[in-house]
């Protein structure tokens, strides 16, 4: 057990190392990092000062060491546009992303789980086909297209919902649905396949043999077991949602992390872009580690297998 966890932690550290190395090398290899990290239109002295500050005359591994040391101490540099430390900006926007992700997740589960159950109980029936279509659209339609159509219908034509911004519950509905649809499709597919697997198991057959009403068999015996993988996926997806909302937040002008990334790209504010990518990637790596460990704690088969 201890060995298993140690190995997982080792893999995650390796992943974090590769992540930072990737970012570091891409920034260095593609040209002069000073051009990215100094403000557009900086004076010659500023640029030279930057060169010294980054130690670009030193060997690469020394540069990498400085690069990673500053991240570990939480120093992501200054934003050119806002003139504040990038980390402050990040934490300022994070709550908005969390709210959006929470509502989107709630929507995706409320839609995804019941429709997944319905599809599994009535395989190849009407609801199964309808669910398949819903999932296909959710996984295929670009989010900016869904968002703009929603604005066209609910803001422009009907005038029910505000087209952008934040502040009230009504503001969050359209962005949350746009973000949640893709994940609802994923949760639906997983619920369906997981239910189908469980429905064929011995204990469900036994529950039926005992003469339990069908609703109880599905709702209690099958569902409880089928939901475990869905909840796991939802846990990972909550963290993913915080980091992939850039399109949704841009379309609806929602002031979260994604919007920060968009502003970073638009204003050529490179420290912001870099910070969002590094923090987002690290977050996902850590959540995967957490899930791996939790699974090993719950299920002895996993830790014995390796």
């Amino acid at each position: 057990m201890k060995q298993y966890i140690l190995r997982r932690v080792g893999y995650s550290l390796l992943s974090l190392f590769l992540l930072s190395l990737t970012i570091f090398l891409f920034v260095r290899v593609t040209g002069d990092p000073v051009a990215l990290l100094t403000e557009p239109g900086a004076s010659q002295e500023d640029i030279e000062a930057m060169h010294r500050q980054f130690g670009l005359d030193q060997p690469l591994w020394v540069q990498y060491w400085h690069f990673i040391a500053s991240f570990i101490t939480g120093d992501f540099g200054q934003s050119f546009y806002y003139r504040t430390p990038v980390l402050d900006l990040y934490f300022q926007r994070l709550p908005n992303s969390l709210i959006l992700a929470a509502v989107a997740m709630a929507l995706s589960l409320v839609i995804g789980i019941p429709s997944g159950i319905l599809a599994a109980v009535r395989v190849d029936g009407f609801w199964d086909s309808a669910g398949k279509l819903f999932a296909l659209l959710g996984l295929s339609l670009p989010q900016f297209w869904v968002g703009l159509v929603l604005i066209l219908v609910f803001s422009v034509s009907l005038g029910w919902l505000p087209s952008s911004g934040s502040g009230s519950f009504l503001h969050i509905l359209m962005p949350a649905f746009t973000l949640g649809w893709y994940f609802a499709a994923a949760h639906m597919r997983l619920t369906r396949s997981s239910m189908l697997e469980v429905m064929g198991s011995e204990y469900v057959k036994l529950a039926r043999l005992k003469g339990l009403p069908e609703a109880l068999v599905i709702g209690k015996h099958a569902l409880k077991n089928a939901l475990i993988p869905v909840i796991t996926l939802a846990g990972i997806n909550l963290v993913v949602m915080i980091n992939v909302a850039v399109i949704v937040e841009t379309v609806f002008a929602w002031p979260g992390i994604g919007r920060l990334l968009y502003e970073g790209v638009t204003f050529r504010d490179f420290p912001v872009v870099q910070a969002v990518v590094v923090i987002g990637g690290s977050m996902i790596i850590l959540v995967n580690l957490l899930i791996d460990i939790l699974y090993a704690l719950i299920d002895p088969r996993i830790r014995l297998e390796s």
């Binding site: 296909l136 339609l141 872009v273 990637g281």
Partner: protein
């Protein structure tokens, strides 16, 4: 004197297999998606002939004309004009070319890198395998769009850069699947016999492994086409994709977004429908191919 028959002679007379049913009559054959994709491809190829106007030149005198069936529209500009008076139809037609070129080449780049590294990592094993797989894990942890935006912010937008970026972001998905296939192929008789026969690793990978993973690579490529096109459109929508004034569908939607609230719906709806049709078609075709050609990939 014994006559040695050339080995070819022995295999010439193979009983002719029963004629397979015409492939387009197979159950669930995605005829409509294929027709849509072929149509978009033809439009992309013959854009110069089909487009009524130059897609990059507009005239402020004729801005925001609605489509011809609406009040104020004319049949001279069938689908209306945009904020600088460019013909929307012509831009859509040239936009098909951008989507097709970027989509197909980016999938080829990603597929090329991914298949190569997947085969090397699966066949050679050892530290090469470790390096490739850890890199794959790490890159997959980065949300694809975020990673692509980061790269685009570094290298700056151009059509070629977008293709390379998409290739760099998406090769990991090929590598993982192909590696899995190679691991099971390695256990098969024909590979073991090739090793016993003294074939070099390179020959085995090139002659024996590669042809057997091509099926999966093709299925993945079709499935990736949709993903890549959405990502390209998203990057263009955010302003870090195909640079203006080139007519990319995502860029057209970003431009049209400002007009949406004042009722210029045609600027966003038409390119949106184009992206939607293309991506849906690619995904439906990919799903069908996956089930038909490659049962191993069904769980993907």
């Amino acid at each position: 004197m014994t006559v040695i028959t050339p080995p070819e002679a022995a295999i010439v007379t193979v009983a002719s297999a029963p004629r397979p049913a015409a492939f387009w009559r197979l159950k669930g054959f995605p005829l409509i998606p294929i027709l849509i994709l072929v149509f978009i491809a033809l439009v992309a190829i013959f854009a110069d002939v089909l487009a009524p106007y130059d897609p990059t030149i507009g005239s402020l005198a004729r801005r925001f004309r609605p489509p011809f069936w609406q009040e104020g529209g004319s049949t001279a500009y069938l689908l209306g004009t945009d904020h600088v008076g460019r013909d929307v139809l012509s831009r859509l037609i040239y936009g098909a070319r951008v989507s097709m070129v970027v989509g197909i080449t980016a999938v080829l780049v990603a597929g090329g890198i991914g298949t190569l590294l997947g085969i090397l990592s699966g066949y050679l094993g050892g530290w090469a395998d470790q390096v490739v797989m850890r890199l794959t894990d790490t890159w997959l942890a980065l949300p694809a769009l975020t990673f692509a935006i980061f790269l685009a912010a570094i290298v700056g937008p151009s059509e070629l850069n977008i293709i390379l970026i998409l290739g760099l972001v998406y090769w990991t998905r090929y590598a993982r699947v192909i590696r899995g296939e190679v691991l099971s192929l390695k256990q098969r008789e024909f590979v073991r016999l090739a090793i016993v026969a003294g074939c070099s690793s390179r020959t085995i990978m090139w002659r024996h492994i590669l042809p057997n993973v091509i099926n999966s690579a093709v299925v993945l490529a079709t499935l990736m086409l949709g993903v890549v096109i959405v990502t390209e459109a998203s990057l263009s929508f955010l302003g870090v994709g195909v640079p203006p004034p080139k007519p990319a569908w995502g860029l057209m939607m970003a431009d049209g977004k400002k007009g949406l609230l004042v009722g210029y719906w045609w600027l966003t709806v038409f390119p949106g429908v184009c992206i939607m049709l293309m991506v849906l078609s690619a995904n439906l075709l990919g799903d069908w191919l996956r089930v038909k050609l490659d049962p191993q990939l069904r769980q993907l």
